[in-house]
Symmetry: C2
Subunit: 230 residues, 2 copies
Amino acid sequence: MEQSTYLRHIAHDSVIFGFSGEKLHILIIHYRETGLYALPGGFVRWDEDLDDAARRNLKERTGLGNIFLEQFHTFGNVQRYQPEVMQAIMTANKLATPADHWMLDRFISVAYYALINYKYVTPQPDALSDSCDWYPVDELPELMLDHQDIVNKALETLRERWDKKLVGVNLLPTKFTMKELQLVYEAIMGESIRRTTFQRKMLKLDIFERHEKQYTGKSHKAPYLYSFRL
Amino acid sequence: MEQSTYLRHIAHDSVIFGFSGEKLHILIIHYRETGLYALPGGFVRWDEDLDDAARRNLKERTGLGNIFLEQFHTFGNVQRYQPEVMQAIMTANKLATPADHWMLDRFISVAYYALINYKYVTPQPDALSDSCDWYPVDELPELMLDHQDIVNKALETLRERWDKKLVGVNLLPTKFTMKELQLVYEAIMGESIRRTTFQRKMLKLDIFERHEKQYTGKSHKAPYLYSFRL
DNA sequence: GTGCTATTGTTACAGATTGAGACAATAGTA
DNA sequence: TACTATTGTCTCAATCTGTAACAATAGCAC
């Protein structure tokens, strides 16, 4: 019985951030036939913690566990209730959809954001979706329902939590240069910052370990690599 | 049909903060007979926005509309599912409770915090509860389910948002002294701050309007009253 | 090797912010 | 008038930030 496998009316969506080295990207899925774009999301099993549901979804979607994932807002406007959208997706997939199907009911969605290392991820489309790809945050396709609002709120949250959560570290490989860390910062904040000021502020935090230099073959002084300590 | 009036599995709880002039207080309700203490909360009607449901609840509970109310976290652990607790409350109120009653099902709770002026509020117990009273945050009775976790998270959120949301202003009357504003700050942050530093920082924000002096009859210089501008 | 360029690490300096204290200005009381 | 408690300012030093300058490479051309 599907009705009892998942909790009715409750969904979760994740804004999965990745950093390409230049721009901030988000994972967006594309539904077959209907042409709809959406955030990856899912439902909550009756015997599963809400956070675990989101984490399971992320694992299925990216293949990665043990990832930075944090809840940031719950969206529950009545306007979200647009059964025809869900109907279209299911019909396009040739799934039977009686009018009282649980997936066509009103949903409240708990939204999470995740920070992962772009390189380690090969997005995986799910049963209903066609493709699952990275899009730059400033070049997203038109998203279904209120998913664009969810993305906006996620970005806002990311900016607020930059210092507390060391956001950047989760978007980079274990070892990174100051330049890379700064690029992440600028991509999130949407503003540039003076190199020397940024470097000094980061180093004064005393939370980074300095490692060997990174020789890239470029003809200039090689930067040190750093990692997050503790 | 109650089942269709409210969305199943979804509840909301509010941490309603008030400031006594000395300590930070929270509104706690007490259930008849069972001896249980809980945060005021409710459910979401099928045709009602989530935020509106929380606001409606606040209005019913305090009689006040147009109040600072903000969502801060959604609690969805399986451990929350303790039908015997709800059962006890309903039985104590002599309400019929078939084992499959919707209120005995698993719930996910969206939590809000509100900031209101202590003085203007006369708490109102609802149909199921006995009393509804202010408790200092550091002297709460033992709360049911995970409500203590909700309170803790609310306090944490309040501390983070102090500057952005001008938290203090919502807890004070329209006109207040710098001393009062500082007391709110200290009550929330749990730490004392130097008077002169606080005063300078607040005034430099340039968001307060200075009014007449407040003569209390005490034998010392009278402080100015301020109000929040814009 | 020498010279050249792009980038990085560090330091210097002025301006702003903050912590801590000093001081003068009350409002009432003795 | 003297005295006390509290408040509004101001000063001074310590720290933090924005800005720029400078020295130290790593590779390339020669």
